[in-house]
Amino acid sequence: MTSIFSPTQPVLVSDTPLLARLLISRVCAGFPSPAEDLGAQRIDLTQVLITHPQATFLLRASGHSMVQAGIFDNDILVVNRAMTPRHRHIVVAVVDGEFTVKRLYQLGGRVKLQAANPTYPDIVPHDGQTLEVWGVVTACIKQFIA
């Protein structure tokens, strides 16, 4: 008994002549591109800005409370919900059912939201009010020409 799947012996698959076509048959004249082997990919912005695609959402900022942090009216915020919010992170929080973007202050058991504009007061949760952080702002996109 011979098995056609025996790995130790080469087996003739078919004794009829076979017309083999070249699958890759590009014949180029001229000097081969020296960049061909590098396989470099063009920089992809989304790859850099969005590390957790399932957990990343885009939100549009409206207002001036974060100007000193570089967030202006109408900027696009990249918000990552996969990150654990830490002290000094800029976060999107839910205050009274509304989204607000502020800097998170979380030190010594005290939690509050700070604006990056001296004309806006801090938001300190009063008794019984919970402060829900919706996501961490990881980038801010400004379009000069839309």
Partner: protein, 435 residues
């Protein structure tokens, strides 16, 4: 071992991610045309709103109980589903996406405590995406689905099942006595594949609970009912009969039917609607790589209105199998003209593509006389270009002229008075955050 992971009140949960103020309020999502409730928050369920309750019957609750109703926003739900499914896939090596909010996971070869793992995946979906889920596990898909029902019910109605089964329930981990107890506490109608009619028949034979059904003799069930129910019984007994369906089969028929926002009497308006339905169906047909041989078109009045009733359908054969929007729309419009009668308040129409076949199989034929359409390959390229343009610039950018001009008000357009924005799918609809 299998797991079924599914989002709780999925459509409502999606809406709440972007409108946190809806938390704690009774919320329902309405079907196309704002007809009836297709998703309910726990608060809405507590108000006694049934699945599929017509809006006009529950509308008074908006004033008396603060009920919020939203039009179905399928663009949003589709994107959130996609995000959820890709995290749910982390539970095990193979995944079957069963519906927009449910997926089966094959747990074969997964080591460690399955409940711990499920709680972790559940927490990740809740943190990353904002959708609460429940996970059910069992030796078969039917048991996993049942376990999921138990996990959900135990969470929503404390006391219905042991509290330890809330959110994540692994039937395989229970002692036989404990498992029998939860199966006995579950109505037979909750078993996967047991519908309303079967429930009634089973009850007549004294089968009331999932446990009763599991204790039947499979051979008897096969004789008395069907092979399908026999399979369900065996699955309940822990013998896998239904495998994970990893490659969804091609659809055997494709339908696009809609109720109109307002009754339509005019042939012109109907033609526009039928053109749009046929175009959508043709697009779906091309996406799955099929051709159609028959185009069915139907129109009908509403059985709920006190007006003369009319309902007709006609099936139009196509000379050569095709996936060409032009050919399909032309056939649908010919059919429509044949069945149209003036004077009826039509409320629904639809187009169905029947007798589908893969693009790869084609009947060769002699070229007798001039062919009625240009070269097939040329039309194929046109369709590809059209699909690409509509993909890039939005649906309806390029369409058949008989569909009416964009921007003209359409008498038949769907009622979506409470539609929320396409938060994650449309640049202009991005959620706004106060700075």
């Amino acid at each position: 071992m299998y797991a079924l992971i599914d989002g709780n009140n999925f459509y409502v949960s999606c809406e709440r991610v972007f409108r946190p103020s809806l938390a704690g309020h009774p919320v329902v999502v309405l079907s196309n045309n704002d007809g009836c409730a297709i998703a309910r928050s726990n608060e809405a369920k507590a108000l006694g709103i049934a699945m599929g309750a017509p809006w006009f019957e529950i509308e008074h609750l908006a004033k008396s109980a603060g009920l919020v109703a939203l039009s179905a926003n399928f663009a949003l739900y589709g994107d959130m589903s996609d995000r959820m499914m890709s995290l749910a896939a982390g539970l095990g090596p193979a995944q079957e996406i069963y519906s927009i909010d449910e997926s089966f996971i094959d747990l074969a070869g997964v080591r460690g405590c399955l409940a711990d793992r499920s709680f972790k995946v559940r927490a990740r979906i809740l943190d990353w995406i904002g959708i609460p889920c429940c996970v059910g596990m069992g030796a078969t898909k039917t048991l996993a689905k049942l376990a999921n029902h138990i996990a959900k019910t135990a969470e929503r109605k404390p006391g219905s099942y042991p509290a330890g089964l809330a959110q994540v329930c692994n039937l395989a981990e229970l002692t036989p006595a404990a498992r029998n107890e939860v199966l006995a506490a579950t109505a037979v109608s909750e078993v996967w594949g047991v519908g309303r009619r079967l429930t009634a028949q089973l009850k007549e034979s004294g089968v009331h609970t999932a446990l009763d059904l599991a204790r039947l003799d499979p051979a008897m069930v096969r004789r008395r009912w069907s092979v399908v129910l026999e399979r369900t019984v065996r699955e309940l007994q822990g013998m896998p009969c239904i495998e994970l369906d990893l490659a969804p089969a091609r659809k055997q028929e494709i339908a696009c039917t809609r109720s109109f926002g307002h009754p339509v009497t005019d042939l012109m308006d109907l033609s526009q609607a039928v053109t749009e339905f046929a175009s959508r169906a043709a697009h779906t047909l091309r996406r799955q790589g099929s051709l159609t041989n028959q185009v069915l078109v139907f129109v009908r009045t509403s059985p709920f209105r006190q007006a003369p009733q009319y309902s007709r359908s006609i099936s139009m054969p196509i000379r050569r199998p095709s996936a060409d929007t032009g050919v399909i729309v032309a056939a649908a419009l010919r059919g429509l003209r044949a069945i149209y009668r003036p004077g009826y308040q039509l409320t629904k129409a639809g187009v169905m593509l029947l007798e589908l076949q893969p693009t790869t199989v084609q009947q060769a034929e002699l070229d007798l006389g001039r062919s009625e359409v240009p070269e097939r390959s040329e039309r194929g390229r046109l369709m590809t270009a059209m699909d690409e343009l509509n993909q890039r610039y939005g649906r309806g950018t390029v369409h058949m002229a008989s569909g009416g001009l964009a921007g003209n008000p359409k008498a038949w357009a769907m009622k979506q008075e409470r539609l929320t924005p396409g938060y994650t799918t449309c640049w202009a609809d991005m959620p706004v955050v106060r700075a």
